[in-house]
Symmetry: C2
Subunit: 216 residues, 2 copies
């Protein structure tokens, strides 16, 4: 495996929706999942599970749920914005050979979990940190990841036998990407602009400008 530098992975990571159909081997997948599993977690709770789905039948049903949910989401937009929305490819569930459902078991090692007493969402936050590890490790392995968030978890969970009390945090598509684009798709098509770093960093207090020189 060609090892990648950290910043190269961070800046080259993309939310991928266009995949080639070649399979992804278990060995590379195991490395990616092991990287995810080595994220930090509140109270060393490791509340996550990763369900690897190759079944086309299941992916077809999830794709159907996406289509249904996306029709609802499209209703938020009108005019040119709606036209642009409808032109966007927002998932690659059928093309990508693998989907990974990421869950959070909020009762694992509980009910008292060290560090989760004040902010109960910490277990969900830990699970998202694991997802980012997965995303970056995949990038390092030349594998693209797309997070499909236009899905109703209550409809997806029964397809995989996920119990009611387990949170389905993410549906991820994994596969060899057609390309790792230079910029996020929503930036390229003009949906949103990247905010300047100096607008998102404050010093000492909310909305107080940070004096650091961001020109690098």
């Amino acid at each position: 495996m060609g090892q990648m530098e950290l910043y190269e992975a961070i800046y080259g990571r993309r939310d991928v929706r266009r995949f080639r159909t070649e399979p992804v081997g278990d060995e590379v997948l195991a490395r990616i999942l092991d990287a995810a599993h080595h994220a930090g977690s509140v109270g060393f709770m490791q509340p996550w599970n990763f369900i690897v789905i190759r079944s086309l039948a299941v992916r077809q049903r999830v794709h159907d749920l996406f289509t249904q949910e996306n029709a609802r989401a499209a209703g938020n937009y009108a005019g040119e914005r709606r036209e642009l929305y409808d032109s966007l490819k927002l998932e690659g569930i059928l093309e990508a050979p693998i989907s990974v459902a990421v869950t959070c078991d909020r009762s694992r090692h509980g009910p008292a979990v060290l560090g989760r007493n004040s902010i109960p969402e910490m277990d969900l936050y830990s699970t998202c940190c694991a997802i980012q590890n997965l995303w970056l490790a995949a990038r390092g392995e030349g594998i693209g990841v797309g997070w499909v968030s236009i899905l109703d978890p209550t409809l997806v969970k029964p397809l995989l036998g996920i119990p009611d009390d387990i949170v389905l945090v993410a549906w991820l598509c994994l596969g060899i990407p057609v390309a790792f684009e230079d910029r996020p798709m929503l930036e390229s098509v003009g949906w949103e602009k990247r905010l300047p770093l100096e607008e998102v960093v404050f010093a000492e207090r909310w909305q107080q400008r940070w004096g650091a020189d961001f020109s690098k």
Copy 2:
């Protein structure tokens, strides 16, 4: 800056609570925050802000809030477990020269946000992905990060002038660590064990074992 390999950062990242008091420069801090800002976000929403806090007076007040909240959390444990809990160092707010408060503005670019229609928490999840980028970039720069989750956000927010409708997701301590330990502290002291990867990965359905060979 000595660039680090991706897996080295992923496996060498630790939740750091013991810091040296040397300052962290703005240049390295800007690189770390820029890496955070390049996480993916739902609908390219970039809902995060990073408040860089050097003020010892503010950190002292947050440390007081930690002490108060930790006394409450300690009440979850009794006997030997309580003794172990009380022996753990769970934050480095005063030693670490920098704290970074990470927030999520849930109304940014809204109310309709592409991809957030079905799972409203997606903006919080995106913010956590940014935090993991920050954590890994810091590791690559030789900077330790500790996430202090034993804090009541409703009491911390007024100290920084954070508006009611902005979510305080994380309080992070940044500084040069005394050491990057080989294993997570809660593993070393026997608080919890690391779960085997094969217990957290399923194939096709919940609780169905994955056949891949995890011996690497």
